[in-house]
Symmetry: D2
Subunit: 408 residues, 4 copies
Amino acid sequence: MPNQTVKKVVLAYSGGLDTSVILKWLQETYGCEVVTFTADIGQGEELEPARAKAQALGIKEIYIDDLKEEFARDFVFPMFRANAIYEGEYLLGTSIARPLIAKRLIEITRETGADAIAHGATGKGNDQVRFELGAYALRPDIKIIAPWREWDLNSREKLLAYAERHGIPIEMKRGKASPYSMDANLLHISYEGGILEDPWAEPEEDMWRWTVSPEKAPDKPTYVELSYERGDIVAVDGERLTPAQVLAKLNRLGGENGIGRLDIVENRYVGMKSRGCYETPGGTIMLRAHRAIESLTLDREVAHLKDELMPRYASLIYNGYWWSPERLMLQELIDASQATVNGEVKVKLYKGNVTIVGRKSENNSLFDMNIATFEDDRGAYNQKDAEGFIKLNALRMRIAAQKGLKFV
Amino acid sequence: MPNQTVKKVVLAYSGGLDTSVILKWLQETYGCEVVTFTADIGQGEELEPARAKAQALGIKEIYIDDLKEEFARDFVFPMFRANAIYEGEYLLGTSIARPLIAKRLIEITRETGADAIAHGATGKGNDQVRFELGAYALRPDIKIIAPWREWDLNSREKLLAYAERHGIPIEMKRGKASPYSMDANLLHISYEGGILEDPWAEPEEDMWRWTVSPEKAPDKPTYVELSYERGDIVAVDGERLTPAQVLAKLNRLGGENGIGRLDIVENRYVGMKSRGCYETPGGTIMLRAHRAIESLTLDREVAHLKDELMPRYASLIYNGYWWSPERLMLQELIDASQATVNGEVKVKLYKGNVTIVGRKSENNSLFDMNIATFEDDRGAYNQKDAEGFIKLNALRMRIAAQKGLKFV
Amino acid sequence: MPNQTVKKVVLAYSGGLDTSVILKWLQETYGCEVVTFTADIGQGEELEPARAKAQALGIKEIYIDDLKEEFARDFVFPMFRANAIYEGEYLLGTSIARPLIAKRLIEITRETGADAIAHGATGKGNDQVRFELGAYALRPDIKIIAPWREWDLNSREKLLAYAERHGIPIEMKRGKASPYSMDANLLHISYEGGILEDPWAEPEEDMWRWTVSPEKAPDKPTYVELSYERGDIVAVDGERLTPAQVLAKLNRLGGENGIGRLDIVENRYVGMKSRGCYETPGGTIMLRAHRAIESLTLDREVAHLKDELMPRYASLIYNGYWWSPERLMLQELIDASQATVNGEVKVKLYKGNVTIVGRKSENNSLFDMNIATFEDDRGAYNQKDAEGFIKLNALRMRIAAQKGLKFV
Amino acid sequence: MPNQTVKKVVLAYSGGLDTSVILKWLQETYGCEVVTFTADIGQGEELEPARAKAQALGIKEIYIDDLKEEFARDFVFPMFRANAIYEGEYLLGTSIARPLIAKRLIEITRETGADAIAHGATGKGNDQVRFELGAYALRPDIKIIAPWREWDLNSREKLLAYAERHGIPIEMKRGKASPYSMDANLLHISYEGGILEDPWAEPEEDMWRWTVSPEKAPDKPTYVELSYERGDIVAVDGERLTPAQVLAKLNRLGGENGIGRLDIVENRYVGMKSRGCYETPGGTIMLRAHRAIESLTLDREVAHLKDELMPRYASLIYNGYWWSPERLMLQELIDASQATVNGEVKVKLYKGNVTIVGRKSENNSLFDMNIATFEDDRGAYNQKDAEGFIKLNALRMRIAAQKGLKFV
């Protein structure tokens, strides 16, 4: 028995078994009209089959949107301006896609006169939080249906039985079913479950899909030159590209060179630790390269301020607060900091390694080996100044030491 | 003319040309007695020649100390408990050695009745600050002589001429002189100057001394298992080792596998940017592995608190504030957090890559895929709880949205 | 129908109407044995009537504990070492009492073999969170009953009807019932509800119970001298007192002088804003005085570190995370900082004003107007040093300005 | 002998003895042309006498500017949007005026073709840093003359002798000379020196100039209503005022009611502690009132983010970094947060007390006692949601407790 009345629901629909079962279950349980929404955010799957399946299940309003450019431009790129990493390792590949899906779901509720949304995320993960916080922030009166938290189809067997019972086709994708739960978009692909549930077990080589192993990567390095404007990559090797094209190109280059694999235990917002493996080839290059161009063009204290705020910013995205006012405020600061982040970075890719081998900025470099002369009679830097600098910085500690104070 | 009266000065003496000239210059300029102090902190050079040279220059009190264990145990290891990285990249290899030298210099002033110390760091760098802040914090009435800020021997030619004039032997080390300014200790070796002064220029392969290039590293990976107690590595591949032995072993393993090279532009405390290259083979392994054992054993909020404090902690060390009360306070928090950081990490080393392939902790793992059952009638995790969790977390944003508020 | 099976429950019992109804309701609904726990944490009410009432309701195991000293010593005092204020104003008077109640409830479950606790906090407030987070942290398998979230007695009328139906005596306390919801302990008394629900309405004078108005306070100031050891007040006007005695004395002095009233809108952890009025006479004095003794005895950077961490520490307490590992870690840092916080503060109390009029510390003052001479030939402070200090601190900005960079 | 060559210098000139001596000393020592700059920033002194004196000393280019509105609008008001307080107490009255003076000095160097500036701040204080960091940031090649760090006129007697020798008139202002060093502007007046050098000594009543004592303030409270737009006060009691008029009016109201006295020991940026007394009547009202309007209109997490950043922001201003890129970035975030900070605050002023007695916001209040109904069938707040909220927030602590982990 549904716990609320719903007239029309927009379902985030992949076309796969789970969301097809959800589609049917929504029709049955809520007796409401269902609108499907399928997005291309670079996951690398055909979307037209989703349309056919939705039609076969009787759906009249079917949205299939190519959101790759919006995803790269308005979500991935702003996040990389912050050098965001969650818990020292994770590049937030799944997290950053969710607020875009939430936003589009809400837009479609408005376009179709729907009063609810539904999604296929489980009750144990972060994604439910990210979808729902985004949706509530953008439309506070929205109703949300999260079937995994409601139904009793909580096993593979029950799902399959339900599908069979309702004539939902069950295809065997890619020969045999993957033992892993996966998620992909233009920024990354993730793996959970299966043998990964033992954090002492090394993932099997054939799990990885986007990158060759460093062992199998070419024996010759690839050099690539990235051009930045206001903190964003605008050209690769001199060729001007859109944000989505940048990501696609760097994914290809990174993937070929064994770059971007990650295997971590992370802390979910809902309270437990989980083990995940990720491939983020382009993002791994972007993070190192962005730090490199900032190292030349960003003021020291601005860089340090960004570094101190970064963990909080990354947590906000991980936890689903992209559309929160505090993320927006932080973004104002971060974006303002990028005004001078212009120039080029040269990167060497080789068997899993991303090595910065050069960085320059014609108009915004703050690097000056000679500490340029500001004045006629002597340079800007007088070594004797260091004595006063040190003396005054030491003063508080000298006073304390003279009084014999011990601090711990 | 010296700017202060000094009776006896303890000189941080390497035995090289620069500090030998300083030694002589101190005798001449200050007319004071000189005590030499040479430390083995793992830089990989013979120290006995320094003794012979000091004797030849008429020094009576010569200190030559093996500080490797103290360095690893009391400085490097505590710093790695914090996952300290400066500006997203630098492992603080030079920075962390300076407070130990400062401490020992001050101890020797007390043992020898000296009233001053002297060092060979220039007036443009960070090391002068690190030596002097440490010295002032530990002995507030100490006099400090920094010849590079005082004398006019500020060129290679003048130094050599002075050496010749005073009969100081000038050896050509290692065939030809390196074009780089280098510094080494058990944690790292650094390179500055020469062609590195152009941040667009890639370092030449023959600059690197501690690591083979990823290209030349073995084609087979090396697996290594690290055992942790309270956040410190206590055994490698099951063999119990002292801190200095851990560092030495990981340096060897890392160096053989092309691990730990770094090429960055960094922001000096004295205000300018500089380009530096570093090899930190063991430290690079330690950082990744420590994060891995923490990922399993550290509470989420403690881990995040550490991440937010880390940039500040790293800056304190970079800027020379090891002996400051604020670093000591932060260390209290960090060390307290490590009580549960016990267990094993399995690492794969391959051509520049450090890959975590397993982590476990018999008594302190907080990872539990099943979210263990605390109660008779149901598990600790009820998926339905997520709805309330999300609803309350969304509430403030829903209220704002309902009122139509726009935040930016 | 209860949503879990409970054998014996420990109820936080005030003896008032609400918790008496809860007592009965627990017996009826859960059919379980009830243990009552009533604590004296300085709320200023007789506890023996609670015993009588519990006995009348058939309770066998009745705990009545005087926790005033534990409350002051282990909760209030550590919190004041941090100068904790929530949202710039609130002294956390209610928040800090909850973790103690949670701890004692759990202890009693262990002493009595109970498997559950129950409390009378509603589902809209912070207190439920504070009780339950504490309880779960201290006993993860504890069952928790929060009747206000379960039952349908959610109005005054229904409660009274239930009481009448079950023979629970309804006394009219203090002539007529207060229109405010109140909570009191040794640190403060709070008021919510009634006309306060309009944030534009000024509270009526007769609402306040612990303080006279500034208008009615004496026309002569009261001077009081506080003695500190390691950040805690150990004597008032030279008389050595226990922590609870300190609070009681300062409450009396503050209350007589119209000190410690507060009227704010605050953000609850559960997501909404609420209006609250508070009287914290002693705490208001303690906060100002503690800052004053720290101003003399704490290193600048330690003080600033504490100031930056304080809002997070205060939020942890407000949100109920007293027993969390992150609060414990922060406390390590805070307590370590207090080693030098020893000395005396002289305070003037006058018609609502707490004015610091003197502070001294025989052994730990870092204040020195002359900047004592460390050396023979000149003082520790040479005005010329300031030039170098400024020059190097300005360097990064000069370089940027010379390049014509604009930052915003 | 001057340590640099100067052609024309702009002197921050008050017309008082000290800067008159400096004027003469600059002419004599540097043999350069002197331009005087005297600003009205609300210090409450006649400026025309400064013109006459400058003329008498032979100055041709005399700048006398009324900067009150610019000071209030572009410096004081932006700072109050951040609720800035240094070290928990100080409202930064002196600090915030310095960057404006620095800016105007540099503008005048450009207007007059000067190559240097000079100021009368000593080498032991913060003001030299604030003037000079600002000047360097705005014109990196500027030469700066700080006579107090250069000359030997470092005593009252020597100054007077110099003045007499050079025919500089010495007036006895206000009967007898004040024993205190004072500084005033539209935001505050400060006192240092004299008996204040003993931090145990209470200031004498006749030191205070802008406020009556609480004892002498009226026996009747004054109520005042403040109107906010984007975080700034735009009207007082319904009367629309400019920023400078707001400050002037609140200073008068505060001063009459004994509001805004402060007596603290603070930590100077140059390393020592100092004792200062301050009167900030209007600012004291503004801080409380701004927090009150924010309490109603600011999102919780934005408010907390601001609170965590505030100490750093305040330190930046105190230390003289107003013109730094990091202050500018923080200001972006702070200003963005104020979009919703609109409404009214009612304040009661009485004998030193600033009491908030009401706050409202027609369009931006986030306060809603009923937690408005978003949906047809139930309100936005369901008390049962709290259980899930608490359960998931407790989960990490429950897991740790179940494993028996102790954190400290």
